[in-house]
């Protein structure tokens, strides 16, 4: 049996906990605390450790899903969880004033994965903001990155599974490319 460790990262309130709950085979492990930073986000609870969920794959393989805390004072958790991680789903909340500026911190923090193609972007609440999908793609290109970008509703299982499918495809394609002898 093989196990694959994947991360969900992104700003506070982007839907990481919801996304893992939408696809995990069993109720996820949660580490939420009362949110006292209502200026940053109005939600009542916020993740301070990590969320953990699992998906069983055909053939007995298993995906292990780790949802990272969004606030940057928990960046130590991002570093710890990145050890051995195959890839990362980066969620954006497009209703925030500057979603690309928000995203920059996470792209930089998980840059090693982004550079090997092990990152996909899921844009939530697209219609509640003014940043287009094309703007995300152009911004990523400006960072020297070519990554899949999707609009998603993380409450919908199929949307989140689409992100995981794309991420695993990206990872496999990058691996095959690396294994291909140069002409």
């Amino acid at each position: 049996m093989r196990e694959y460790k994947l991360l969900f990262a992104g700003p506070m309130g982007a839907g990481k906990t919801t996304a893992i709950a939408a696809i995990s085979d069993a109720a996820p492990v949660r580490t939420e605390a009362v949110n006292s930073d209502r200026v940053q986000h109005s939600k009542e609870l916020t993740t301070v450790g990590f969320d953990y969920g699992e998906i069983a794959l055909d053939g007995g393989d298993r995906l292990r899903l780790y949802g990272m805390p969004g606030q940057d004072r928990f960046d130590f958790m991002w570093k710890v969880a990145s050890e051995g991680a195959l890839g990362v789903v980066l969620l954006s909340d497009n209703s925030r004033p500057e979603p690309l500026k928000d995203l920059a911190l996470y792209v930089e923090s998980f840059r090693a994965m982004a550079e090997r193609g092990a990152m996909v972007i899921g844009i939530g609440r697209l219609g509640s903001g003014h940043t287009s999908v094309e703007s995300y793609t152009a911004w990523l290109a400006g960072q020297g990155l070519s990554l899949p970008v999707f609009t998603v509703d993380v409450r919908r299982r199929d949307d989140v599974l689409l992100l995981l499918d794309a991420l695993l495809y990206q990872i496999e394609a990058a691996r095959l490319l690396a294994d291909t002898p140069h002409a």
Binding site: R30, V34, S36, V48, G49, Q71
Partner: protein, 131 residues
Amino acid sequence: MLDDTQLEPLPAHFGGALDRLLATVPALTGAVLSRSDGFEVLSRTRAEVPVSRLSALSSSMVALSQAALREVGMHGGGGSVLVEGQDGKLLLLEVPLRGQPMVLAAIGGPDLITGTLLWAARDCVRQLIQP
């Protein structure tokens, strides 16, 4: 002389509770009170302590310990985490304040006796909850 940090108006007895903790246990390097979501609210230190980083770490560690207890069918409320290394000890205690739970972190050197640390820190939590 103690270095103190107070970031916002807090119940007056909070400062006294931390002062008494450090007075009771001279081997303590410092005590940091944080909200359960990792924001520092009050500290008393005798040496350099990275208060804001410790606050974030404390909330994560307590939340993870509670999650671990839940997974094995135990209730995590009112719990603690003790981390020991060759240079000292770090004790994290939940402070179950209604509406805004907090975490108390107590830091001490290698000579600090664990029993003394546990007893004094738990007494401090009791004072924080019931002035």
